[in-house]
């Protein structure tokens, strides 16, 4: 199934070093969690394309690279460096540089009483009891080696706890900045977001880079949405094109909880976006909405794994992809309906626009249904920009590049329309706009600008 890790020695050294100094090394439960996860990772290694979950994504470039764990303290970033990264209307922003929480660049004073926001590392040091019942309880480290690897190195990231009944007004913005690296470096941000009964809130995870260099960002988030909680989560990837970004969002939904996950993949070289909700309580609703815009040699893989574990739950997946150049997109939509999850209503739609002959999309539904009274539908389309619409716009005086861009933006707005109006949506809209301005600036057949990028396909 999987390959032996070519650099097992490197990982072992990294891990041994890490365990010697890691916060929480004296907590038996946390030590066991990390040890077990590392053992599991060593056992299975990195996946290959023979693995069903990884059929369309070759991670041998990651397996082959000797990554070093990024150390804290080398890079000093000022608030000025991060000025462009703020979201208007966000009452809290936590900044992480190379995976480490940077308090000086963060602010979170304007939150309702009772809400806890902290760096996970600080939380482990100061109040580990509060997280013991959650951390590592949901993420699937058995099936997914990257989740195992993240858990082995789990230390810093964001911890958010919203106690019963509290409604957060604006989004909590988690900004992960990776800085320049002269040697390949890795980080494993770990987030724990706990929304208790009848709470409401929005969390944005955003990944950006300052400077270049080979970097692996392997993040994992456990989001617990209690009874009747309403939670929106945004994953925004816009790192540079040498970045490997693997992210996993594991959502645990209680009774009548309503969770939406929005993914916006704009950057990164090799990106894998795992979204794994488990509808564990009756009457839960889950909306998974995504947009991936690839060009050059980007590889953007979206792996959905929606688990219906209780009756009367509904899930909706909508992913739109726009691929140009030699970009390769993947949408893998797995829906598992457990035996007792009667009256499940699950729907999945993946729509793609291919802008060049060399762009590629692999879309694959995978339904595993063990209950008998369920409604499951899926559909996928792959198309080009509509010639009729393009001509219509041009016939009114709009030049071809602008007309194409308008149509791309219209296609992308289907995803925006599924976001609640507010700061998070405005931010997403602005990013999509800027991205299309910088990318959709050429006609088919012409190349946009010369970029030095690695070819993930070729190195496989």
């Amino acid at each position: 199934m999987t390959t032996a890790i070519q650099n097992v020695q490197d990982y072992l050294e990294n891990f041994t070093e890490f365990e010697k100094r890691a916060t929480g090394r004296n907590l038996p439960w946390l030590r066991r969690l990390r040890d077990d996860a590392f053992a599991r990772f060593c056992e299975v290694g990195f996946p290959t394309t023979h693995d069903e979950d990884w059929r369309f994504t070759n991670v041998s470039a990651i397996a082959r690279t000797p990554f070093l764990l990024k150390e804290k303290g080398k890079i000093q970033l000022s608030k000025k460096d991060l000025a462009g990264g703020a979201i208007e209307g966000a009452p809290a922003q936590l900044v992480f540089v190379d995976g480490q929480f940077v308090r000086e660049c963060s602010h979170f004073a304007n939150l309702p009483r009772g809400v806890t926001i902290a760096g996970l590392k600080d939380q482990i040091a100061n109040n580990p009891d509060a997280i013991e019942a959650y951390l590592g309880h949901y993420l699937d480290t058995r099936r997914d080696p990257f989740s195992a690897l993240n858990t082995a190195f789990a230390e810093d990231g964001a911890y958010v706890h919203v106690p019963r009944g509290i409604v957060l007004d604006g989004p909590i913005h988690l900004l992960f900045v990776s800085t320049a690296a002269d040697v390949p470096s890795m980080m494993h941000p770990r987030n724990l977001l706990v929304f208790d009964t009848e709470t409401q809130g929005t969390v944005i995870e955003e990944y950006v880079s300052l400077g270049s260099g080979t970097v692996l960002c392997n993040s994992a988030t456990e989001l617990i949405a209690g009874e009747s909680a309403t939670v929106s989560h945004y994953m925004i990837e816009r790192e540079h094109k040498e970045a490997f970004n693997i992210s996993t969002l594991r959502i645990q939904q209680g009774r009548s909880a309503n969770v939406t996950s929005h993914s916006l993949l704009l950057g990164g070289g090799l990106v894998r976006n795992n979204v794994h909700p488990v509808l564990a309580g009756e009457g839960g609703e889950c909306l998974i909405n995504g947009l991936f815009l690839g060009d050059g040699r980007q590889h953007l893989d979206n792996y959905m794994h929606v688990e219906h574990a209780s009756p009367h739950c509904s899930s909706r997946q909508f992913y739109n992809g726009i691929l140009d150049g030699h970009a390769h997109g993947v949408f893998h939509g797995r829906i598992v309906v457990h035996k007792d999850a009667q009256k499940t209503d699950a729907k999945q739609t993946n729509r793609n626009l291919l802008l060049s002959d060399d762009a590629q999309i692999d879309t694959k539904p995978q339904l595993e249904i063990y209950a008998d009274d369920v409604k499951c539908t899926h559909g996928a389309t792959i198309g080009q920009i509509e010639e009729n619409a393009l001509f219509y716009l041009r016939s009114r005086g709009i030049d071809e590049i602008s007309a194409r861009r308008l149509l791309l933006f219209a296609f992308a707005s289907e995803c925006l329309d599924r976001m609640q109006p507010g700061a998070a949506r405005d931010h997403s809209e602005r990013l999509i706009h800027e991205h299309l301005l910088s990318v959709a600036n050429h006609l088919p057949g012409q190349s946009s600008h010369t970029q030095t990028e690695r070819s993930w396909e070729e190195v496989g």
């Binding site: 001509f391 716009l393 009114r396 005086g397 709009i398 071809e400 149509l407 296609f411 707005s413 289907e414």
Partner: protein, 257 residues
């Protein structure tokens, strides 16, 4: 100088010759009508003039304002002052009507070296045109033609024409699918735009529209050729005798060398 001059235009689609040598001249201020049966090539002519690239021009020349129209892209033709109202307007989900039309107007203004219009200046003008065409303001906030009825789509075409103020307007069966009230409104909009500087080419299947928009000239297009030209009275004659009358004539017309 004539505004539009078409000389011996031959057009092929998918290997079939659709237009087989069209000659036509429009002067500023004139309204010409092209009538013809289904499939005779009316839309082909309109679309070629609007510079749709899927049609292949195999012979001939078209001058628009003295410039080579066939060398222009669709957006260039539009910026030079050509407007075609589509027989089948396209629905474009996700692009707002107002935003679209303001972008179009500004693209044209920019081409002519004029200042762009901001939303503050644009909206009052736009509202006024909406009123002229008796269109619901709600349509402003919708996507281009999305969910519009057939009649609303046609009115939206004329609305766009009223905003963009072209030198040459080509209306491709703007009348079909309209009830009599809508037809009157559309005709009022079109007539309001008749002016000594502007020419119009009104493509229609039926004579009905020409009761409201009275043309200076009528041309009958059959099987890719103009088989007859005349004044407004030709439309009435056609209505009476039907196209079969001209079709017989078409067969008798010798193919010009």
């Amino acid at each position: 100088m004539s505004l539009l001059q078409i000389k011996n235009l031959h057009v092929t689609v998918g290997g079939h010759e659709i237009l087989k040598g069209i000659d036509l001249k429009l002067n500023p201020g004139e309204v010409h009508s092209i009538m013809g049966p289904n499939g005779s090539g009316k839309s082909t002519l309109a679309q070629v003039l609007a510079r749709r690239q899927t049609y292949e021009v195999t012979q001939g020349e078209v001058l628009f304002n003295g410039k080579d129209l066939l060398a222009m892209k669709p957006e260039e033709a539009a910026c030079e002052g050509l407007f075609m109202a589509f027989q089948y307007p396209v629905e474009i989900p996700g692009i707002g009507n107002t935003y679209f039309l303001r972008s179009a107007l500004n693209a044209i203004r920019k081409y002519r070296g004029e200042d762009e219009m901001d939303a503050m200046d644009f909206l009052p003008m736009f509202r006024e045109k909406l009123k002229l065409l008796e269109m619901d303001e709600k349509l402003l906030n919708r996507s281009v033609n999305e969910g519009f009825s057939g009649g609303e789509k046609k009115r939206n075409e004329i609305l766009q024409m009223a905003v963009l103020q072209p030198k040459l307007a080509i209306l491709d069966e703007t009348d079909s699918g309209l009830d009599i009230d809508a037809l009157r409104i559309v005709a009022k909009g079109v007539n309001g735009m008749r002016s000594p500087e502007r020419a119009m080419l009104v493509v229609t299947h039926y004579q009905r529209l020409l009761n409201y928009i009275v043309p200076d000239y009528v041309h009958v297009l059959v099987d890719g050729r103009i088989v007859r030209s005349g004044g407004a009275e030709l439309a009435l004659e056609l209505e009476e005798k039907g196209y079969s009358w001209t079709e017989t004539e078409a067969r008798q017309t010798p193919v010009s060398a």
